[in-house]
C-alpha cells in the first residue's frame, strides 16, 4: 500500500479572485532510470545489464507502436496510446493536417494500479 502527503498552500484563485488553500501531492524525489535499475537489480537479482537492455527495448517498442497509431498494452502497468486535439471543420474541404493542434502520447494506468491508488493512505499538511 502506498502513502502520500497532500500539502495545502495558500494561492490566488482567479475564478474567486481571492486567496484559497489549494492541495497538491508532495513529490519527494524524482527516481531516475539508473536508480530504478539499481533498486530492481538489488531486490530481484536480475543483472543490471538485462534490466537496462529491457528498458531500452521496451521504450523503443512503445514509441514505434504508439507513433504508428497503435495502443500498447503493458499488462499490469497500463496502456500507452496517441492522443490528439484538433479543431472541428465545417466541410470536407477544410479538413487537413493543420487542424491538428496537439498530438501527444497518453498513458492510462491499469485496473491493478487504480485499485492500489484507491488504497493509498493520505497524510494532510497545511
Amino acid at each position: 500500500m502506498g502513502q502520500i502527503k497532500v500539502k495545502g498552500t495558500m494561492q490566488r484563485v482567479a475564478i474567486f479572485d481571492e486567496n484559497r488553500i489549494i492541495g497538491h501531492a508532495v513529490r519527494y524525489s524524482t527516481v531516475k532510470e539508473d536508480e530504478l535499475v539499481s533498486y530492481v537489480a538489488r531486490s530481484s537479482h536480475i543483472p543490471e545489464s538485462t534490466l537496462i537492455a529491457s528498458t531500452i527495448a521496451i521504450r523503443e517498442a512503445i514509441a514505434f507502436f504508439v507513433l504508428n497509431g497503435h495502443h500498447v498494452d503493458l499488462g499490469k502497468f497500463g496502456i500507452f496510446g496517441i492522443r490528439s486535439k484538433q479543431k472541428a471543420a465545417i466541410d470536407e474541404e477544410q479538413v487537413d493536417a493543420s487542424l491538428v493542434k496537439h498530438l501527444t502520447v497518453g498513458f492510462k494506468p491499469s485496473a491493478r494500479i487504480k485499485r492500489a491508488i484507491a488504497d493509498i493512505r493520505i497524510e494532510i499538511e497545511v
Binding site: I58, G75, A89, V105
Partner: protein
C-alpha cells in the same frame, strides 16, 4: 527508427453548444498491441531472450508502482516521467481544507509527461486526415 504516421479520422457530429453539425476529428487506433507481442518485439530488437525481458519488466513495473504510489516521480529517459497527482477542491481556510478533505478529494491519478525526445518524435510524426 522510421518516422511514424498517425491518421486522424473526421466524422460528422453534432456540436451541442451551438447545435450544429461539424466534422470532428479523432486519432484512429488500429489495434491494441498485447503485452506478449510488445515483449516479443522488444526481445527481437534487443537480442535478449523474451523470458529475460518479461522478468525484467515485471520487476521494473513493480518498482515503478512502488515509487509512484509513495509520492516519488519516476523518470525514464526518452520515454517520460510518471507521477501522482491529486485533485481536491480548494478551501477558504486551513480548518475547512482539513475538515472537508475526504469529501472534497475528487481524484488521485497517475500522470505521464512525455520526455523531450519522445515529443521530438511526436513532432516528426506524419499526420494524415481522412473524412468519413
Amino acid at each position: 527508427m522510421e518516422k511514424g504516421q498517425v491518421n486522424i479520422d473526421y466524422k460528422k457530429r453534432r456540436i451541442a453548444y451551438n447545435n450544429t453539425e461539424m466534422l470532428v476529428g479523432q486519432a484512429i487506433r488500429y489495434t491494441t498491441i498485447p503485452y506478449a507481442s510488445v515483449i516479443s518485439y522488444a526481445a527481437q530488437a534487443a537480442g535478449v531472450p523474451e523470458s529475460s525481458i518479461e522478468i525484467s519488466m515485471e520487476a521494473l513495473f513493480d518498482a515503478m508502482n512502488y515509487f509512484v504510489l509513495n509520492g516519488h516521480s519516476v523518470k525514464i529517459p526518452n520515454l517520460g516521467t510518471f507521477y501522482l497527482s491529486v485533485r481536491v477542491k480548494s478551501a477558504a481556510t486551513k480548518e475547512e481544507f482539513i475538515e472537508n478533505f475526504a469529501k472534497d478529494l475528487h481524484q488521485i491519478s497517475i500522470r505521464f509527461r512525455p520526455a523531450p525526445a519522445l515529443k521530438a518524435k511526436i513532432a516528426a510524426t506524419a499526420i494524415k486526415t481522412l473524412v468519413e
